[in-house]
C-alpha cells in the first residue's frame, strides 16, 4: 500500500512537535475529514531556519508532513515556496490514489505558515532612494 519512504517517515517522523518561537503557523484540513496538519516555521535571513509539524491523520498525512519539513528546511523562502503537494507525494515515491487528495495537504499548511509569517513581520523600511 505505502512505499518504504512513507513508512519510514511515518514511523520516524522528522521535525515533529511545536516550535515555541515560530514566525508563522499554518494549518490545513479539518477533523471531520480525519486530517489536520499544522506547520510551524522559523525564518532567518529569508531562509527556513527551522520548521516543525503536528499532524492528526493517517499514515500518509504524517509522512507527507514529515518529508515536507525535510524538503524545505534550509531553503530560501522563495525557493521553498515553490513546493507543491504533488512534489511532496513524489518525494515519498508516490501515494495510493485515494490518499492524493485528502491526506496530502502538507504543502498547503506550509504555504499558509509562510503567509502568516508575512502578515506577522514588521513591514521592511522602504529602501532609501
Amino acid at each position: 500500500m505505502y512505499t518504504e519512504a512513507v513508512m519510514d517517515h511515518f514511523y520516524n517522523p522528522r521535525n515533529a512537535g511545536e516550535l515555541a518561537d515560530a514566525d508563522g503557523v499554518g494549518e490545513a484540513g479539518n477533523p471531520v475529514c480525519g486530517d489536520i496538519m499544522k506547520i510551524y516555521v522559523k525564518i532567518e535571513d529569508d531562509r527556513i531556519a527551522d520548521i516543525s509539524f503536528q499532524t492528526f491523520g493517517c499514515g500518509a498525512a504524517i509522512a507527507t508532513s514529515s518529508i515536507l519539513t525535510e524538503l524545505v528546511k534550509g531553503k530560501t523562502v522563495a525557493e521553498a515556496e515553490k513546493i507543491t503537494n504533488r512534489a511532496v507525494a513524489e518525494a515519498l515515491g508516490g501515494l495510493p490514489p485515494q490518499k492524493m487528495h485528502c491526506s496530502n495537504l502538507a504543502a498547503d499548511a506550509f504555504h499558509k505558515a509562510l503567509e502568516a509569517y508575512r502578515q506577522n513581520r514588521p513591514k521592511p523600511a522602504p529602501a532609501a532612494e
Binding site: Y2, M7, F10, Y11, P13, A16, G17, E18, E27, P31, V32, C33, G34, D35, I36, M37, K38, F53, Q54, T55, F56, G57, C58, G59, A60, A61, I62, P96, Q98, K99, C102, S103
Partner: protein, 394 residues
C-alpha cells in the same frame, strides 16, 4: 516476530480440520453434483450431508431451508432482493437499520431505484434498534424487515427475538444478517423467530467464498443468479462442493466449541477493555457495554486517527481494524459509528480488536503495551491533543 491477529471479525484462518475435510473434493471426489454417475452422486451426497449438518445446527425444520451461496454478501442480496421481487404484489416497503453491513444497505439502495421504499431505522448510542421503532415503521405495504443479528464493527447484538414477535404479529417477513454471530454465539433460526438468515463461512474458520441463506419453508424467494436448477432452483451455478463441505465442517466445529469459547472470549474482551481504560486516557468504548459479541472490542482514542494507529500496530506485529475513512478508502468514517452519534473526529480514531479462539492473554498484554506507546507517540505529534492537554488531564 510472531504476528498477533486481532481482526477475526474481518476474516479467520481456515481450521486445519476444515482444510482436511475439503481436500478430497478437489481431487478424488471432484464430480459435478448434477451428474448421475458415481462421481456426481458422491459430490451430491457431500452437499446434502453438509446441508443436513447446517440445517440441524441452525435449527432448521427442513434441509431445503438451507441455500448455499457464494458469500455472505450474496446471501444478504438474495434474501432482500429475493423477497422484494417475490412479494412485489403484496407491497413495496422494506425496513432496515442505519448500521447494517453494506451488503444489506446497498441492496436496499438498489431496490429504491426499482420502486421500493426503504426505511432506515436509527440506532441509539449503543447501536441498538428500538423494537417500538420497528413496530411504528411497519405499514400495510411492508413486506420485509432486515436487521442484523450483531454488528460487525461494534459487536452490538440486536434483540431479534423480541423484534420478531412484533414483525410476525404484523405478518411481515424478518431477515437477519447473522454473518457475525454464526459460529460466535448460539444461533437458532427458530428461537430467533426469523424467516431468513445469512451467514458466511470465512467468519468462523471456514473458507472464503461460501455462505448460506436460511429461508424458512413457505418463504417465497426470487433467485438472484439465474441458470441451472441447483439449490432448489434458488441459486444457479455448479456448486462449490469443497467450499460447502468446508462451511459445514467449520460450523460444526464452531457450534461444538461455543460453550467453551463464548465465556473465555468474553473474559478476554473485558480484561482488554478494562486494561485499555486503566492505561490510556481519553478513550471511549463504542457499542454496548454488555450486549456485545464475546470477541469484540471497539474503542475510540481521541486526538489520533485510526489508520495511523493500525499502521503502527502492524509494524509491531499486530493486526486490527478501524472505522476510520482512511482504512477503507472512503470519504466518510464508519457509517455505524456516525449513526451511533459519534462526532467525525472520534469516529476517525476508532480501533476494533476482535479476539479469536487462538488468542491468549499474553498476546493481549503485549498488545496493550504496544497500544499505550502508539497512542502516546501519535498524540505527541497531534495538534488536537496539545490543545486539549491543559483542559483535562488524568
Amino acid at each position: 516476530m510472531e504476528r498477533i491477529y486481532l481482526d477475526h471479525a474481518a476474516t479467520t484462518p481456515v481450521d486445519p480440520r476444515v482444510v482436511e475435510a475439503m481436500l478430497p473434493y478437489f481431487t478424488a471426489n471432484f464430480g459435478n453434483p448434477s451428474s448421475i454417475y458415481q462421481e456426481g452422486r458422491a459430490a451430491k451426497k457431500a452437499i446434502e450431508e453438509s446441508r443436513e449438518k447446517v440445517a440441524e445446527i441452525l435449527g432448521a425444520a427442513d434441509t431445503r431451508e438451507i441455500i448455499f451461496t457464494g458469500s455472505g454478501s450474496e446471501a444478504d442480496n438474495l434474501a432482500i432482493t429475493g423477497v422484494a421481487w417475490a412479494y412485489r404484489k403484496k407491497g413495496n416497503h422494506i425496513i432496515t437499520s442505519a448500521i447494517e453491513h453494506p451488503a444489506v444497505l446497498e441492496t436496499c439502495k438498489e431496490l429504491e431505484k426499482h420502486g421500493f421504499a426503504v426505511t432506515y431505522l436509527p440506532v441509539d448510542e449503543y447501536g441498538l434498534v428500538a423494537p417500538e421503532a420497528v413496530r411504528d415503521a411497519i405499514t400495510d405495504r411492508t413486506i420485509l424487515v432486515s436487521l442484523m443479528h450483531a454488528n460487525n464493527e461494534v459487536g452490538t447484538i440486536q434483540p431479534i427475538a423480541e423484534i420478531s414477535k412484533i414483525v410476525r404479529a404484523k405478518g411481515v417477513l424478518l431477515h437477519t444478517d447473522a454473518v457475525q454471530t454464526a459460529g460466535s454465539i448460539p444461533l437458532q433460526a427458530d428461537e430467533l423467530g426469523v424467516d431468513l438468515l445469512s451467514l458466511s463461512a470465512h467468519k468462523f474458520y471456514g473458507p472464503k467464498g461460501v455462505g448460506v441463506l436460511y429461508a424458512k419453508k413457505g418463504t417465497r424467494l426470487h433467485r438472484l443468479i439465474h441458470g441451472g436448477a441447483q439449490e432448489g432452483r434458488l441459486r444457479a451455478g455448479t456448486e462449490n462442493v469443497a467450499g460447502i463441505v468446508g462451511l459445514a465442517k467449520a460450523l460444526e466445529l464452531a457450534a461444538a466449541g461455543l460453550e467453551e469459547t463464548v465465556p473465555r472470549l468474553a473474559e478476554l474482551r473485558d480484561y482488554f477493555i478494562n486494561k485499555i481504560f486503566s492505561r490510556i486516557d481519553h478513550v471511549k468504548l463504542n457499542g454496548h457495554p454488555t450486549r456485545r459479541l464475546p470477541g469484540n472490542i471497539n474503542v475510540s482514542f481521541e486526538f489520533v486517527e485510526g489508520e495511523s494507529i493500525l499502521l503502527n500496530l502492524d509494524l509491531e506485529g499486530i493486526a486490527a481494524s478501524s472505522g476510520s475513512a482512511c482504512t477503507s478508502g472512503a470519504l466518510e468514517p464508519s457509517h455505524v459509528l456516525l449513526a451511533m452519534g459519534l462526532p467525525h473526529e472520534t469516529a476517525h480514531g476508532s480501533v476494533r480488536f476482535t479476539i479469536g479462539k487462538d488468542n491468549t492473554k499474553e498476546q493481549l498484554d503485549y498488545v496493550l503495551g504496544v497500544l499505550e506507546e502508539t497512542i502516546a507517540r501519535l498524540r505527541a505529534i497531534s495538534p488536537l491533543y496539545r490543545e486539549q492537554r491543559g483542559r483535562k488531564e488524568k
